[in-house]
């Protein structure tokens, strides 16, 4: 069984302490709750040095440094660990704390470095997407909506209510997930591989369901063209596109962007294209505007 699984996902495999990776492979429990909390606070700077080459890598390393220092007293080990954590990293800034917890538990146990790398990589993608969907695009609009409806007549209380609701969830999650991740990592190191895959699969399901919905709610694009054919008027949006499928254009445009991204175009180019299309769409042609 083991051999067969190894054949399928050679990159993820959990093993005991690894003399070949560590000079000092003693695996005591050193990280305290206080350390965890401190690292949650540091993780607020996860994107301090955000950049398109490594994204959050340096911020991630910064966030977990106190833990690494405690765990790896040996300088060689610390250097190895730090180097591996400078590799590309990007996930949702709230959900990062669960990955931190798990990874710290694994570092403490002096797990195989490749395993740690695998967990870190396997979790960051789906948690990034699901976090964006749930926090940036669901939690945030709900909270903003509540706040805005209270501030509609110029009352600043709305802003306060917004900040309170949002941050109660925000910090509740951060501290909770950090602890949850650390415990999960400690207790269940050996079952981590399988769970990572399943959690990541489940997160992808939720994530993509939500993204599908978000495109329909957030991307704004409507044709304004009216085609005159003899006496008849065909309103492109209402008479044609909406009859085929509402929200066709938002969906189509997103898929176009997706296609262009896959063809290697950079987001910056896509933004430019979008601005150009937007402006062209509003040019007052004799027959009306396009968008």
């Amino acid at each position: 069984m083991a051999s067969e699984n190894a054949a399928i996902e050679p990159e993820i495999s959990v093993q005991a302490n690894n003399p070949e990776f560590y000079e000092d492979s003693s695996a005591e429990q050193l990280i305290t709750k206080k350390d965890l909390n401190k690292m949650v606070w540091r993780s607020l700077l996860l994107q301090a040095s955000f950049n398109y080459e490594r994204m959050q890598a340096a911020g991630w390393l910064y966030s977990i440094l106190p833990g690494l220092k405690k765990v790896h007293k040996n300088k060689h080990d610390l250097s190895e660990s730090m180097k591996s954590h400078m590799e590309f990293f990007n996930t949702h800034p709230f959900l990062v704390n669960i990955i931190m917890g798990i990874v710290l538990a694994m570092e403490e146990r002096k797990q195989n470095r490749n395993t740690i790398r695998a967990i870190r990589v396997a979790m960051m993608g789906p948690l990034g997407g699901i976090g964006d969907a749930l926090f940036w695009l669901t939690l945030l609009p709900i909270c903003v909506g509540i706040g805005a409806s209270l501030g509609a007549d110029g009352n600043p209380i709305g802003a306060l209510v917004f900040l309170i609701i949002f941050n109660v969830v925000h910090f509740g999650l951060r501290f909770g997930l950090m602890r949850y991740g650390y415990n999960a990592g400690t207790n269940a190191i050996s079952s981590l591989k399988e769970n990572t895959k399943k959690v990541s699969h489940a997160a992808s399901i939720v994530g993509l369901t939500v993204v599908g919905g978000l495109i329909a709610s957030f991307v704004q694009l409507k044709a304004n063209l009216v085609i005159h054919a003899g006496k008849a008027e065909i309103a492109l949006q209402e008479d044609l596109l909406d009859k085929i499928m509402p929200n066709m254009l938002p969906l189509g445009y997103t898929l176009l962007m997706y296609y262009l991204l896959k063809r290697g175009l950079s987001p910056v180019i896509l933004i430019l294209i979008t601005v150009v299309i937007g402006i062209i769409g509003k040019i007052p042609f004799p027959f009306g505007t396009i968008l």
Partner: protein
């Protein structure tokens, strides 16, 4: 008078620095227009206009959040310039938004540049990691924060101190359809963020869920939280089904093997 506007511009610029950091770090979301409207309103002494302009700007920026590192038109500068402009020139919130959008797009471009420019610094960080120099790593991140602060400070200070009137006249001289076009582009911008998410997350076997989510909103007008719950239900179904299925497969195998 000049003294007062200098002080106000400085205060707003400090707020812009703080909010600019919060957009990517801290993430208390004090950078949202709904909050910024209050603060700028207080600084400029017209709280109600600030609050209402902030709320109006919120609507425009709904859904424009940084996804997978993709920058939408900058919400910090959009909110600050928009609110300040509305108060200082007494214009309607809608016009204020029109004025704010080009700034927001420009800053969006700058931030994208900055994130590109910061890439080489990572090689410095690699060296620190090699040397196990934890202080160095700290410094790099603090440097990032400082850069962000300075950048937003400057970007907010200049147009407000020098520019309210200039901005107004520039905007008024621009054809209305360009401003409208920028707004339309803003509405489309979220597509890029979603496309980046799709690039990361979409595999063939996930297309089904994507379709479901799209249908639920398009045809049933479900709010996103309901869509997320449906997604969760599917994920749970799948999770337990897979576990069960594997169990069956194992038992099948076990029952027969040898």
């Amino acid at each position: 008078m000049d003294q007062e506007i200098l002080l106000q511009a400085l205060l707003i610029a400090i707020w812009a620095g703080i909010a600019g950091i919060d957009l990517f770090n801290g993430l208390l979301h004090i950078h949202r227009p709904i909050v910024t409207g209050v603060i700028v309103g207080l600084i400029l002494g017209d709280l109600p206009t600030g609050v209402m302009t902030g709320a109006a700007i919120e609507l425009v920026w709904a859904g424009m959040v940084p996804l997978a590192g993709a920058q939408p038109p900058n919400v910090v500068i959009g909110g600050i310039i928009g609110t300040a402009f509305a108060i200082l020139t007494g214009q309607d919130p809608q016009v204020a938004i029109g004025v704010a959008v080009p700034f927001a797009v420009a800053v969006q471009a700058c931030i994208t540049l900055m994130f590109t420019a910061f890439s080489p610094v990572m090689h410095k960080a690699d060296k620190y990691a090699e040397e196990a120099n934890t202080k160095g790593i700290d410094r790099i991140n603090y440097l990032g924060i400082a850069t962000l602060f300075v950048f937003y400070f400057v970007v907010a200070f200049l147009p407000i101190y020098f520019g309210a009137d200039a901005a107004k006249s520039v905007v008024e001289s621009l054809p209305a359809w360009i401003i409208a076009g920028l707004g339309t582009a803003g509405g489309m911008m979220a597509a890029i963020g979603f496309a980046m998410l799709l690039k990361i997350m979409l595999k063939k076997q996930y297309i089904a869920y994507f379709i479901v989510g799209f249908i639920l909103v398009t045809y049933l007008q479900m709010p996103i939280i309901a869509v997320a719950l449906i997604g969760l239900a599917i994920a749970m179904y799948d999770f337990y089904k897979t576990i069960g299925g594997q169990g069956a497969a194992m038992r099948g195998a076990r029952g027969r093997g040898i």
